[in-house]
Symmetry: C2
Subunit: 286 residues, 2 copies
């Protein structure tokens, strides 16, 4: 008899589609805590699957999407660009009782693709963890320890069981579930994650394009390290994320440009009072 209720979630078979930094860390976290009965990794790269098995992130690997058939819970952990197509390919093989979630950084389009395929068994997710590194070799069992993990469940009475199961999975991995509607998620995460990534990528480019870049970074301190760290993230991954959250990002970047222009004008005109006002808004504490 397959696991169907929240009480059965502790020993289910987990299928992870995409065994990179996030998917690999989920597998490691569950296996290290002996939570899942079995973790199947599904990835197009046999090298990634072998590495994931060697690192203890999965019990077994498959290159074929039909391997999701064995899973009580399917976690899609591929880059957001590939996600809707991959969910559609997997859907015919998924058991009708299987719980389905994902970890993509943008939720509106993913939820719009997942709900027609999986109904109220689909609970969108987004762990606010990760790093500028990517790939299975960067995975860690404790990656989610203390991190917020957004969940965007269908707002329907029958979705409660699925939401509770995914929330428990998140807590078992050390994360803190935060329920939020997909469009609200995309605004909030756009502001505190996608926007700072866009600013960091652009700062890295501004420095690199300066003819004196090499001499400048010889004198760089902590502010340079902080402002460039996330610009070392995967350009491919981030192109997909920024495009998937296009409307929010475009508005936020336009607002930021206006704020920056006003600061520049205060500097150019030597208006110390105006400049001081623009430097005196502390960031809200996380």
């Amino acid at each position: 008899v397959p696991a169907t209720g929240p009480e059965a979630a502790a020993k289910e078979c987990l299928g992870i589609v995409g065994v990179g930094l996030i998917g690999g860390s989920i597998g490691m976290g569950l296996r290290a805590r002996h939570i899942a009965a079995r973790v199947i990794g599904i990835d197009r790269s046999p090298e990634t699957l072998a590495r994931a098995q060697a690192l203890g992130a999965i019990d077994e690997g498959s290159q074929a999407i039909d391997a999701v058939a064995a899973a009580d819970c399917i976690v899609f952990a591929t880059p957001v660009g590939a996600l809707p197509g991959l969910m559609a390919s997997a859907a015919p093989f998924a058991e009708p009782y299987a719980l389905v979630t994902d970890v993509a950084s943008v939720k509106r389009d993913v939820v719009a693709a997942g709900v027609p395929l999986f109904g109220s068994r689909f609970v969108g997710g987004h762990p606010m963890a990760g790093s500028e590194a990517s790939g299975i070799d960067a995975a860690r069992a404790d990656l989610f320890e203390g991190a917020a993990w957004a969940l965007t469940p269908l707002q329907a009475p029958e979705a409660g069981g699925a939401t509770a199961r995914v929330a428990r999975l998140v807590e078992e991995l050390g994360g803190q579930p935060v329920q939020v509607a997909a469009d609200i998620h995309d605004h909030l995460v756009g502001l505190v994650s996608h926007l700072p990534h866009a600013l960091s990528f652009t700062f890295a480019r501004a420095v690199a394009l300066d003819p004196s870049a090499a001499a400048a970074v010889d004198m760089a301190g902590a502010s340079y390290a902080d402002l460039t760290r996330v610009s070392r993230s995967s350009p491919d991954l981030w192109a997909d994320i920024l495009l998937a959250n296009r409307d929010e990002l475009a508005a936020m970047l336009a607002d930021y440009e206006a704020l920056l222009r006003a600061m520049r004008e205060a500097i150019e005109s030597g208006d110390r009072a105006a400049l001081l006002g623009r430097l005196s808004t502390p960031p809200p504490d996380a």
Copy 2:
């Protein structure tokens, strides 16, 4: 006989004008290593002087600028805005053999003010260390360990002795002296320090002005922490720094705005190839 050559620098009397994060850390570093014979702190705040003495940053304190008269080496460590006026007040009391340096983040105006007052005994300096914290309570004896420390000596044959003495002081504090002309310094440091501070202050303001800021920071991860850290620095200090490097900053901010606008346009138009190009310039390694 007062110390005049490089070989005498090890046991001189040091006068530190402005006993905050940087001035206090210099005092602590020299006293912890038993390098200076005596450290006199000069600050308008008696509370700061008492605290600096309690923390072991200075041997004695004075609120009067004429206390620089006892120093073989005078380090100006006040915010850049106050610096030219303070150097002019101190000059009549300084011994004619006294070495003079400073730690301001912008060098062109400071060197222009210091050289007429102190001649080739003035060697501009700027340690690339510090933090968003300020004040004597944030001071640490090891603050400069491994940090670059720009020196902008007068390019004259008679300036060699002074340069060597300040370079040795920097090395004794664990710093790495980097000689650079003042205007070059202001460009390089504008790029890797002042520009990222301006971007961080503006990002903090963008988040704070969003009506959903509180909910957003509840989901914030490391990119938010990184991009906001230096925005917690003193607004007063940074208003002075950004204004003192006005021309460089205005040009760099305009360039940054153009790069950001181009990124936004690639996002708005869904031009993935153009966006990918803008995300694919890794920052030069520090």
